[in-house]
């Protein structure tokens, strides 16, 4: 009897519950697709702003193959991003040389060796490292690394590829560590057990069995690190020296694509060629990071395997 009444009242409330249910569904749906809406919106916005330049002034050969970035020249403005691309690439490349051994070592240690409290503490610390704002990293590059590099290597100035590469490597390492650790954890324990049963040492288990099995995940981690390197702005602006230069050694100052946008956009008249050229760099960066992240994602999912 009471059960029947409860059921009846539930039926009575069905309308309200149904509306709540629908509302929640819609909110969650909007939340879910908002990322797509934003990404499309951003792409449309930067394309719209850069379009005038792409249509009128853009010269493919000059843009990609000339180091002359002189957008405010009175006589003859030139828009070549070769040196800027070289700057971004050299800094990111060096950053990966720094970050890969660090993050791989940390991931192997956390995933395979550390236990209990050490493991938990390490994980928290790695996440904490990822939370340091990039302007703080840039400040470290400017005020600590700069004099250190001058003293250690006897070079005229410490704001160089080396400085920014190390800073960026340390910035990218935490996220790479997290992803690499996940990849190692995803290797089933039976692989390890089987290898150990056959008399393999721990070393051999890791290098011959676990790392090859986690290959795709590790590659994905590296690619995400590369994406981070390409997109990073503030720290590279402060640590590279911001000089238009194709580097011939790690002791050269360079300038990154992102840093150029950050330094120049604020003082550029809306709609001018210079403004639109900066947005064209933005489109280029967007496409590059999109491709890197996409391939990282595909590799992590192991699509390549199939």
């Amino acid at each position: 009897m009471s059960e029947a009444r409860a059921q009846a009242s539930r039926v009575g409330q069905r309308n309200r519950d149904w509306y709540i249910d629908k509302a929640v569904e819609i909110i969650v749906f909007i939340g879910g697709i908002s990322a797509i809406i934003f990404i499309v919106g951003i792409f449309v916005f930067i394309t719209k702003e850069g379009l005038g330049f792409l249509a009128d002034t853009f010269d493919f050969k000059e843009f990609f193959f000339s180091p002359n970035w002189r957008p405010t020249s009175e006589a003859n403005p030139t828009y070549g991003i070769l040196a800027l691309m070289a700057g971004t690439a050299s800094v990111t490349g060096l950053a990966m040389l720094v970050a890969i051994p660090f993050s791989l070592g940390a991931a192997i240690y956390v995933a395979e060796f550390a236990t209990g409290k050490t493991r938990e503490a390490l994980k928290v610390l790695v996440e904490l490292l990822a939370a340091i704002p990039s302007v703080v990293w840039g400040f470290i590059g400017l005020s600590i690394m700069n004099p250190l590099i001058i003293d250690l290597f006897n070079v005229p100035i410490g704001l160089t590829v080396l400085n920014a590469g190390i800073i960026l490597g340390l910035m990218a390492a935490p996220i790479m560590t997290s992803i690499a650790e996940d990849a190692l954890k995803a290797v089933p324990d039976r692989y390890r057990e089987a290898a150990e049963a056959m008399g393999a040492t721990r070393w051999q288990v890791i290098f011959k069995v676990v790392l090859p099995a986690a290959k795709n995940g590790l590659l994905g981690a590296v690619l995400l690190g590369v994406g981070r390197g390409f997109g990073e702005t503030m720290a590279v602006l402060m640590a590279t020296g911001h000089a238009i230069n194709i580097p011939t050694s790690v002791f050269d100052s360079v300038r990154a694509l992102t840093a150029t946008i950050a330094a120049e956009l604020g003082e550029t008249a809306n709609g001018s060629d210079h403004y639109q050229a900066l947005f064209t760099i933005g489109i280029f960066l967007f496409i590059i990071t999109f491709l890197i992240n996409l391939s990282a994602d595909l590799i992590v999912r192991g699509v390549r395997k199939g």
């Binding site: 180091p67 704001l159 238009i244 120049e264 550029t268």
Partner: protein, 290 residues
């Protein structure tokens, strides 16, 4: 970035309006532009509060180009600029119905900064052009006949500004001439203070910035020929004897009238001109300040 700045400016103006809405009619003057002038403009705006509390001057920076662009778009009453408007900009303003009128409100000497250990005390404009200009022959301090202690290989570390700053544009015009470009590979700092900071820490460096940014940890070169060079100072900037001193401008839309005229007149008065002197720039006319 521009967007954020203007939103911030609007917001702060809004707060001011709300905060003061108790009294009579308040008038807000929008003032925007040069980062070189922003500290002075702020000081003027604050000082003017005591003169006419009914007028609120909302000041924001963003650079000479930003201020001029805002004047062209008709969104500011007064634009600050550390360079003169280009003919192209004047034409653009006229075609959109604005009539920019130029007012020189002061002068700024661009000092050439050197590290404390650098033995050079005097430099000519030609020497600067060879250091900063495209295809310039001077790349080491040895080329200038000196040896800088603590500077590896005697390589000159050339420090400049980002390419849309008024300071950069004026230095190019005054030192390199209209046609010549800067060398590629200069370290382009984002702000006058950054230039001084990096010169302070780098024995090999040379940089330029407004005199107001000078401090005791860097040297300033005497500009001109040997024996008849001129030191950068407020006095040598006002009398025109220092070679790389530039006028600082405010632009209004049409001849100023009403509250804007009163504000501009106050800026050009002895009180207003003493404010700019106090901030380390040369006044537009000779004044005696306490």
């Amino acid at each position: 970035m521009n967007m954020t700045k203007s939103i911030l400016m609007l917001a702060s103006a809004g707060v001011l309006v709300v905060a003061c809405s108790g009294g009579d009619e308040r008038q807000v003057i929008q003032n925007k532009g040069s980062d070189t002038l922003v500290n002075v403009a702020q000081a003027w705006a604050e000082g003017y509060q005591t003169v006419d509390p009914n007028v609120i001057v909302a000041v924001s920076g963003g650079g000479s180009g930003t201020g001029i662009a805002a004047l062209i778009n008709g969104t500011v009453d007064i634009a600050n600029a550390s360079r003169a408007m280009k003919q192209k900009e004047v034409d653009l303003a006229k075609s959109s119905g604005q009539n920019p009128v130029q007012h020189i409100v002061g002068y700024d000497a661009l000092a050439v900064f050197l590290h404390k250990d650098n033995p050079i005390t005097q430099m000519s404009v030609e020497q600067l052009a060879e250091i900063y200009g495209e295809n310039g022959a001077t790349t080491t301090w040895t080329d200038l006949g000196v040896e800088v202690p603590g500077c590896q290989d005697q390589q000159i570390v050339v420090v400049s500004r980002q390419n849309n700053s008024g300071t950069y544009a004026y230095f190019r015009e005054a030192v390199l001439g209209k046609e010549r470009e800067f060398k590629l590979g200069t370290r382009d700092m984002h702000g006058s203070k950054d230039v001084v900071d990096i010169v302070e820490k780098t024995p090999c460096a040379i940089g330029y910035s407004g005199l107001a940014y000078a401090n005791d940890h860097v040297n300033m070169a005497c500009i001109g020929g040997e024996g008849d060079c001129v030191n950068p100072s407020v006095a040598t900037a006002s009398d025109g004897s220092y070679a790389i001193a530039r006028p600082l401008f405010m632009y209004t839309n049409g001849e100023p009238a009403g509250a804007i005229k009163e504000y501009m007149d106050w800026i050009m008065s002895d009180t207003g001109q003493c404010v700019i002197l106090e901030k380390g720039y040369a006044p537009a006319k000779s004044v005696t300040c306490s």
